[in-house]
């Protein structure tokens, strides 16, 4: 174990597995899956079999019960499939739609939803955002009316990752008054009558990802699908966001590092004015600066992981990591495309794909503005 490194021999073995899987099982299909805006569902099964989905979940629900550093390894390496969309779908399955189910679910709920999800047999989605509200989660309008032993759900959700292929949705609904005190989380089987998926949303990037607009019309689900307590959903969602933001931060600096390596490689080979582009000091310094910032983002994120791992309050650190790494990745994408010149604008070079994909990271899982809001509040403003 290198000095200052949180990674053991087991982490490094796992790193190799994830890297090989990303480069040999996923990357070769990139062109097709991005073009078709879809990939075979069996990817979830394969990911599950290798233990990618249950890393930090307890063994009782089919996980490996390991520390968050294994999660870090997974996120750092899966970016090598060079499809942020597919990678995000896997993270929704493992880090976004299901941790709250593990934290709050009853045994029956875990057996019906969580265990099959971690086996890759049921695909999960998280449904919070609506056509009328995103950042302002407390304002969501999808209503769940209590009727006897059931809830009857009406409303719509949008931009939902895995939405079109999910077997169940961890769904945020309004069960009480307006505002954050009237929100609940329910487990929603997509086989429910009255549920419909709108046409696939055409996106700037993350093309392999399945992103959908969802409609709920008089959808009846039993009350036993309520997660935790009624009207405490807002708190649950905010807590659940922490893991999601952490994987977003890791994906940001890790993918930025990969883009930087590509740019260095390209400028090492590309000649202009009788020299390699990399021989111009401008680019050497640019890359040195970006590498420094990527390292800073990594270390800030590692600090957040250390706290997260120890179960300590770390909302501020996670928000900072996502803000810093997410914004940085935009700059890295811009500069690395610039370093490629015209080639970088061509689909043939991965930087063009990265430039599109990475744009999401300052928007999804809470925008950069919202991260600043959180940090500002914690500064007492």
């Amino acid at each position: 174990m290198a000095i200052g490194s949180p990674f053991t021999a087991e982490h490094e073995l796992f790193r190799k597995t994830v890297r090989d899987f990303a480069e040999k099982e996923l990357l070769p299909h990139q062109e097709k899956w991005e073009l078709e805006r879809a990939y075979p569902k069996e990817i979830f099964k394969k990911a599950a079999d290798l233990g990618f989905l249950g890393i930090t979940f307890p063994e009782a629900v089919g996980g490996s019960g390991l520390d968050a550093w294994f999660k870090v390894v997974f996120c750092e390496e899966i970016v090598r499939c060079r499809m942020a969309g597919l990678a995000m779908d896997l993270m929704v399955q493992a880090d976004i739609a299901t941790p709250v189910l593990n934290a709050l679910g009853t045994q029956a709920q875990k057996e019906e939803f969580l265990i099959p999800a971690l086996k890759g047999e049921k695909i999960a989605a998280l449904g919070v955002t609506e056509p009328g509200c995103g950042s302002d989660v407390a304002n969501l309008q999808t209503r769940a009316e209590a009727q006897g032993d059931d809830y009857v759900i009406n409303g719509a959700k949008t931009y939902i990752t895995n939405g079109g292929q999910a077997d169940f949705i961890t769904l945020a609904v309004r069960t009480g008054d307006e505002g954050h005190k009237g929100i609940s989380l329910v487990l929603f089987p997509t086989a429910t009558k009255g549920f419909a998926v709108g046409k696939k949303l055409e996106k700037l990037g993350n093309h392999s990802s399945n992103t959908a607009l969802l409609f709920f019309e008089d959808c009846r689900i039993p009350k036993k699908y309520l997660l935790g307590e009624e009207n405490l959903g807002f708190t649950y969602i905010m807590k659940n966001f922490q893991g999601e933001r952490l994987v977003a931060a890791i994906s940001s600096y890790a993918s930025a590092d990969l883009a930087l390596q590509d740019a260095i490689q390209y400028t090492r080979e590309r000649k202009a004015f009788g020299r390699r582009v990399l021989d111009f000091q401008v680019w050497q310094h640019k890359f040195a600066e970006l590498k420094t910032q990527i390292e800073a983002a990594r270390r800030l994120t590692y600090h957040a992981v250390t706290l997260f791992n120890a179960g300590q309050e770390c909302t501020t650190e996670i928000s900072m990591a996502k803000l810093f790494a997410g914004d940085l990745a935009q700059r890295v994408a811009y500069e690395c495309m610039q370093a490629h010149g015209g080639a970088g604008y061509m689909a043939e070079y991965d930087i063009s794909r990265y430039f599109r994909d990475i744009r999401l990271i300052t928007i999804g899982a809470g925008t950069s503005e919202i991260m600043k809001e959180i940090i500002a509040k914690r500064l007492g403003f």
Partner: protein, 256 residues
């Protein structure tokens, strides 16, 4: 069945190799080591053989310095049951001494079948398995392309040049040198990696195993191969280019 698999740790194919200033070997500083790629096919074949024969056990053996325990862990994480590390005690054994020590271990273990890569990708000698077979008086089939085992017998197909195949029928115990195309090595799953932590690794010393064998090969000096000269692109009329090409091949490259 008692199944053995031989694994060698080698520098990663992507590592830039540097020779030590005094030419005594390669500089291991900063070199990443991996399981020799052909050995991965051997591990997979061993695991498949185990799965097809209930009650079997796979033992992985690796000879080398203490760092090769990392490679042993990889094999255990893929699913091998236990391991033997033969410490080379810094002795730098050649193929002959290596094979002597391995043959001793294999004999002592009483394996029914042993798998290894057809060659290691570091020095590409490709002779350890054959030597082991010789010392044990076992049959061996190298460059294995297909294998069927049943009731103590094996039918092994090996690739020979020109696309032809040779098929051997033999009685176990035997040793097989695995090649690409034989199977698709599995990935070490996360649960597999964690299970490997508690699997037993026995350490033996080469000096206790090799008997009176000594290196037959002496390494005197390592150096990098000469830089390849840049290629030549011919121009002009096709007919002239052909003439020029033939002239160059005859006079400069001297291959015609």
């Amino acid at each position: 069945m008692k199944i053995g698999v031989l694994v060698k740790q080698v520098p990663d194919t992507e590592t830039k190799i540097k020779v030590l200033d005094d030419g005594s070997g390669i500089d291991e500083n900063g070199v990443k080591f991996i399981v020799s790629p052909y050995d991965e096919f051997a591990i997979e074949e061993a695991l498949k053989t185990k799965e097809a024969n209930a009650g079997s056990e796979v033992t992985v053996a690796s000879l080398g310095p203490s760092r090769c325990v990392e490679s042993i862990r990889t094999a255990l994480a893929m699913g091998c049951d236990k391991a033997i590390h033969i410490d080379d005690e810094g002795s730098g054994p050649d193929s002959y001494v290596t094979a002597k020590a391995l043959a001793k271990v294999i004999g002592d273990q009483g394996f029914d079948v042993v798998f290894c890569g057809k060659q290691a990708i570091d020095d590409d000698m490709g002779q350890v398995p054959q030597l082991v077979a010789e010392f044990l008086a076992w049959p061996q089939v190298m460059i294995l392309e297909n294998l069927e085992i049943s009731e103590g017998k094996a039918k092994a197909t090996r690739r020979v040049s020109g696309g032809a195949k040779e098929v051997y029928e033999l009685t176990l115990p035997a040793i097989f040198g695995c090649d690409k195309g034989l199977n698709t090595p599995r990935y070490a799953s996360l649960p597999g990696i964690m299970k490997a932590k508690s699997k037993p690794v026995e350490t033996l010393k080469i000096s206790d195993l090799k008997g009176d064998a000594n290196n037959k090969l002496e390494y005197s000096n390592f150096r990098m191969p000469p830089e390849k000269a840049p290629g030549k692109v011919l121009s002009g009329e096709v007919g002239d280019q052909v003439k020029e090409l033939v002239r160059l091949l005859r006079e400069e490259a001297k291959v015609l």
